[in-house]
């Protein structure tokens, strides 16, 4: 018995193509909207450094000069490496606070100093909300083999400064 050819196969590819085009337009519009808003902006922030005049006996930390006479002991440069997993989880030491208040301060103490001045820092690859959302979506998506691949990104934060000892 021969069945009449169903019209569905003729229509379906057209529908699929249209859906694909619509999805593409939707994704493109969403990307444009995200980029148009603040989604393409990454803001990285740390806790406060030393105020001026300095208070307490903590190691003096500043992006500027020293508030009183000092002796230069040397220079320090530190890089905190880490990974961002699926756009939501930061693993490792790639944070400004950890790199400056941890690595730089420890190095200064080891050198016999009690301050680090003229600190410069840079988060090498800060992730925008759009990039984080993209990584999360990629991690949740299954590939052609039906498996999920969690997307990770290499992260690094550099910091350097001049180690000093107040006179």
């Amino acid at each position: 018995m021969k069945h009449a050819p169903s019209p569905v196969p003729l229509v379906a590819p057209r529908l699929t193509r249209r859906c694909g085009a619509n999805q593409l337009t939707l994704v493109a519009s969403l990307a444009m909207a995200l980029c148009g808003s603040s989604a393409c902006t990454a803001v990285v922030q740390s806790g406060p450094l030393s105020s001026r005049p300095a208070q307490g006996n903590q190691v003096f930390l500043s992006t500027g000069a020293a508030p009183r006479p000092y002796q230069t002991l040397g220079f320090v440069q530190a890089t905190g490496f880490g990974n961002q997993v699926a756009g939501v989880l930061d693993v490792g030491d790639a944070q400004i606070d950890g790199t400056i208040k941890g690595a730089l301060v420890n190095a200064a103490i080891k050198m016999g100093g009690n301050g680090v001045i003229n600190i410069e820092f840079l988060d090498e690859n800060p992730q925008t909300p759009a990039e984080r959302a993209g990584d999360l979506a990629d991690s949740l998506k299954t590939n052609s083999q039906g498996k999920r691949e969690v997307k990770t990104r290499w992260r690094s934060v550099h910091a350097k400064g001049e180690v000093i000892r107040f006179l």
Partner: protein, 151 residues
């Protein structure tokens, strides 16, 4: 013989064109409000003398793509970085200004922009601007006095 001369001439011309396209200077500027009535946060690449309270380090980054090689949709230039992102962040932190500012903007050769305009289907011209600094709050009655460099 004639063909050889013509070939050499075209080679030399091609080299000259390539060299002229690759030799250029790109300048980017940003202007800051100077009217005191605007009460805009102060911005300096140097230090200040007066007492202040540190509110923390900040890094702002704007990432985008030059559509058709020339259209900067997101605004990845220094001016937009300062006006649209850094200034609001300083105000959000309740700071009076930012000191020891460092900045960097991606600079693209015009020839690369033209190539992107031609091959606009393949996006490769990604640009970004990054600004870093220390947000501070001046002590009561404090003013911004820059530290003078001794030369």
């Amino acid at each position: 013989m004639k063909t050889s001369y013509r070939s050499s001439f075209f080679k030399a011309a091609a080299v000259a064109v390539c060299l002229s396209l690759s030799a250029c200077t790109i300048v980017n500027t940003a202007t800051l409000p100077t009217d005191p009535n605007l009460h805009a946060p102060f911005v300096t690449t140097g230090d200040i003398q007066g007492p202040y309270q540190s509110l923390g380090l900040i890094q702002v980054t704007r990432k985008g793509h030059l559509l058709f090689g020339f259209v900067d949709i997101v605004g990845t230039d220094i001016q937009t970085g300062f006006n649209e992102t850094l200034m609001p962040e300083i105000r959000r932190l309740n700071g009076d200004g930012i000191i020891n500012v460092r900045f960097h903007q991606t600079q693209v050769l015009p020839v690369t922009q033209v190539v992107q305009a031609i091959f606009f289907v393949i996006p490769f011209l990604w640009t970004e601007v990054t600004i870093t600094g220390e947000v501070v709050k001046l002590a009561p009655g404090g003013t911004v006095q820059p530290v003078l460099q001794q030369g």
